[in-house]
Subunit: 214 residues, 2 copies
């Protein structure tokens, strides 16, 4: 009997992650409220009792999923933007294309969608996401804009409010597509959206008009 197929795994190192994987797929498919712990257990190849061996409640499963998914996000994007010096268009462009990639793949978009779907019913999720992602990313972005202004790259816009203008259009595009099924005739067109958005944004915030499109 191989390591992976044996039914009982003493010490159970891999079990929690497997259960979270199963929970994620069931939550995504049916939503938290309609998801049954029995389904999650079956999907994980385990009985319901085993699920409760590792997680104290159904809600803890949801929190576990978000917890596990959320940490890498900020750690990926934040560091290289934090101490960036120079034209802010470079890291902003990079950020938008990164977002573009993440939100285009079916598997990576699942977690943001799940969070969006349940966040209003579970304040704990909202706070976790805020603490682990937004509180890290928002100040970094704000600082980036502020530095861009100080160094003469950008016009004197309000840095804190301008980050809404940076990411807002992406959010709107995804929301229209994912929630309401509204997208351009030729598909999601994420790349085209980012291009169009960057074109408008940079012309809108750059100090030197003729440099707006490098």
């Amino acid at each position: 009997m191989t390591e992976t197929t044996k039914k009982f795994r003493r010490r159970a190192e891999a079990r929690p992650d497997e259960v979270l994987d199963a929970a994620l797929s069931v939550f995504v498919a049916k939503g938290f409220a309609a998801a049954k712990v029995d389904d999650i257990a079956r999907q994980a190849g385990v009985s319901k009792g085993t699920v409760y061996l590792y997680f104290p409640s159904k809600e803890a499963l949801l929190e576990g999923i978000v917890q596990r998914a959320v940490s890498p996000i900020a750690d990926r994007a934040a560091p290289d933007m934090a101490q960036f010096e120079g034209d802010p268009r470079v890291p902003i462009t990079r950020l938008l294309h990164m977002l573009c990639g993440v939100l285009t793949q079916a598997d990576t978009i699942a977690i943001p969608k799940l969070i969006l779907r349940e966040v209003m019913n579970f304040p704990a999720i909202a706070e976790m996401y805020r603490r682990n992602v937004l509180d890290k990313v928002v100040p970094v972005l704000t600082g980036l804009i502020a530095r861009g202004i100080a160094q003469g790259y950008l016009r004197p816009v309000d840095p804190e409010l301008t980050i809404r203008s940076v990411v807002g259009p992406i959010i709107a595009h995804i929301a229209l597509s994912e929630i309401f099924d509204i997208r351009p005739i030729d598909g999601l067109a994420m790349e085209r959206l980012v291009e169009n958005h960057i074109d408008i944004l940079f012309r809108g915030i750059c100090a030197d008009p003729q440099e707006a499109r490098p």
Copy 2:
């Protein structure tokens, strides 16, 4: 006994609306899943059976709320933008300030928030909103941008994608504030946000740079 205090009302004209009012307040307070039909009935000053006299199911209550709230939205904004000729900045500015007003008042923001909260669990709600609001508003906005380009007011941006750049920042601002409790130190600052956004947007999309700020 006055008309309003009598218990039985022939033809029962006002009851459905009262039940929907009650349902709205309970759904907003606890979310659809956690809301009990008994609570809604009590809030409406009526028994549970009466609720089912007027609505076939709990879900029908949610649909009724959205149905009732949704029709006026598009009818308000769309008509005057549909056949507007001239500088598109005028109706866009008007639209953004209108949104600003709607989303700032506690009572009017309740319904969009409820829709956002439940839309992913109830495809029927998503479709209703799309049919009654988005399918009307989106083409009107797209047409407005397209006409602005044709008449030389705007640069040749992609009209369909540019509307994401028009409303996206507002959505991002509201989402940060309402979901994650992230807002500028001095409060929501909705007016300031719109100002900052318009400043960037118009400079970004206008054909004539020095006319960007009229």
